[in-house]
Amino acid sequence: MSMMGLRLGRAGADRLMPMHLVLDEEGDVLHAGPALEKIAGRSLAKRPMEEVLRFCRPYAASTPDSFAPLAGRALQVELLGAGEGRRPVPLRAVLVTLPQGGALLHLSPGVRLARTVRDHGLDATDFSPVDPSVELLFMCEAQALVRGELERLATGGTRASDWTSRKPAAPGEASAIAAALTGAMDSTAFGFVRISTAEPGAQTRERLREMAARSLRDRDTILDTPDGLLLVVADGEDGAVATVAARLRGRLHRLAEDGLLSQVEVAAWGAARCDEEEEGDLPAAAPDGYAYGARAASLPRAGSAAVGG
């Protein structure tokens, strides 16, 4: 496409106008934007325009003769779908003629935005980043939220939640986590210890983090999760992961006895089998006399699991 010295490639046109249509001087489709083809449910290139588009208001024949009279006007058109089952999709459009012949149409769902998005599964990438359509959808939902709150006020009551009974992720998720972190951790063998709590607030998290830091080495990593911490134990071979877990459970046991922490679960899994009796490549026990034996802990806890080799 070129106009007045400005050349615009198809990729650029697709990003600026995901719902556009370029017609040649014969009225055939040269190119269609990706969002428009998504709505049409088929490829539109090389099709005659009468198979693709109908000018409704103002009414005009789908021929190149219509281009000049329609240029620059606000148009209502229908995008014609493939097959008997697909209903025409009403769209707003503006048409400009091109210097080399043919026309460019820029289209939009207009007032039927929400329905078009829902019916055709559009997402944010189907709109230009500066198109306010997504903001309009945001506003629709925001208003629905406010309306819902008003209705809830009118009827009284707030729904109870199972917030306090959230469970930690199943150990089976480890394989996915391990796959994602394999490159990032620069380690061929590592394991995980997940500490989850029903009360994952800042104070609890800080206490858990302090406790975890005392059980880990420098090359291990502590990550925040919505319900606690995820400890990535590098070189987690032969008992290192289990040792971390056992130490954490021991410390948790003491904190629970002191009434400082409750409802905390520790789950461990990794490249090595989690054997709570084994000592791994970890720093010596801190001289605070923590109860090392995890079996002595009365806290509820998830079972250990072995994942991978």
Binding site: A114, R115, V117, R118, D119, G121, L122, D123, A124, T125, V134, E135, L137, F138, M139, C140, E141, A142, Q143, A144, L145, V146, G148, E149, L150, L153, T158, R159, A160, S161, W163, T164, A176, I177, A180, L181, A184, E199, P200, G201, A202, Q203, T204, R205, L223, D224, T225, P226
Partner: protein, 198 residues
């Protein structure tokens, strides 16, 4: 203080402490006997009293409760609409971070007189960001920490979000957060469709 914010705190405390717990906290905070009305403005001291009463009742620090509330706001099924509103900011977690500065204006699109914390993002490179939160009351940064941790999870990103401290200046609390984005595609994001609730 807009009633919507107080109502959110009420919703969180009801959900986590039950009706009896909420009743005790509301009584200790001397809340209006007819309850909080979402669309009514209240003096800031009502929120301060509510937080103090909740902290006393639960034995937890106010910042602890506020962070928890931020997470609850974006994860509890009852707040699905709020989660969706955040997801409108863009298809990726960095898109969300880039739009944090717009949060107050977006909120005003829904409720014109709702004043949320002013947020300012600084991108430091290599997946590191800092966010300054400015609000008349202390603790907004803790709520944002909870919100961002929950939304990182929602987007499937692996991110470390931390509260770095706060200071008071000219009647406002400026709170600093740090974000380290370790893996944008750590896991599959939770479902979101633009037209999902339309």
């Amino acid at each position: 203080m807009h009633g919507t914010i107080l109502k959110t705190a009420e919703g969180y405390l009801r959900a986590t402490r039950g009706a009896d717990g909420w009743a005790a906290i509301a009584a200790a905070a001397n809340l209006p006997p007819d309850g909080i009305i979402a669309m009514r403005p209240y003096p800031d001291r009502v929120m301060t009293a509510l937080l103090a009463a909740a902290a006393s009742h639960t034995g937890r620090a106010p910042s602890d409760l506020l962070e928890d509330m931020g997470t609850w706001l974006c994860t509890d099924p009852a707040n699905e609409a709020v989660r969706r509103l955040f997801r409108f900011t863009g298809p990726t977690f960095p898109d969300l971070l880039y739009s944090l500065d717009d949060v107050p204006e977006r909120a005003r699109m829904a409720v014109p007189d709702l004043d949320l914390p002013e947020l300012s993002l600084v991108e430091q490179g290599e997946g590191r960001y800092r966010v300054a939160s400015t609000w008349p009351l202390k603790g907004a940064g803790s709520v944002i920490v909870g919100v961002l941790r929950a939304l990182a999870d929602d987007y499937g990103a692996l991110a470390v979000v931390a509260h770095e401290g706060r200071r008071e200046a000219r009647g406002f609390w400026v709170e600093m957060l740090s974000i380290r984005l370790l893996d944008e595609g750590f896991q599959d994001p939770k479902g979101f469709a633009l037209g999902g609730a339309a």
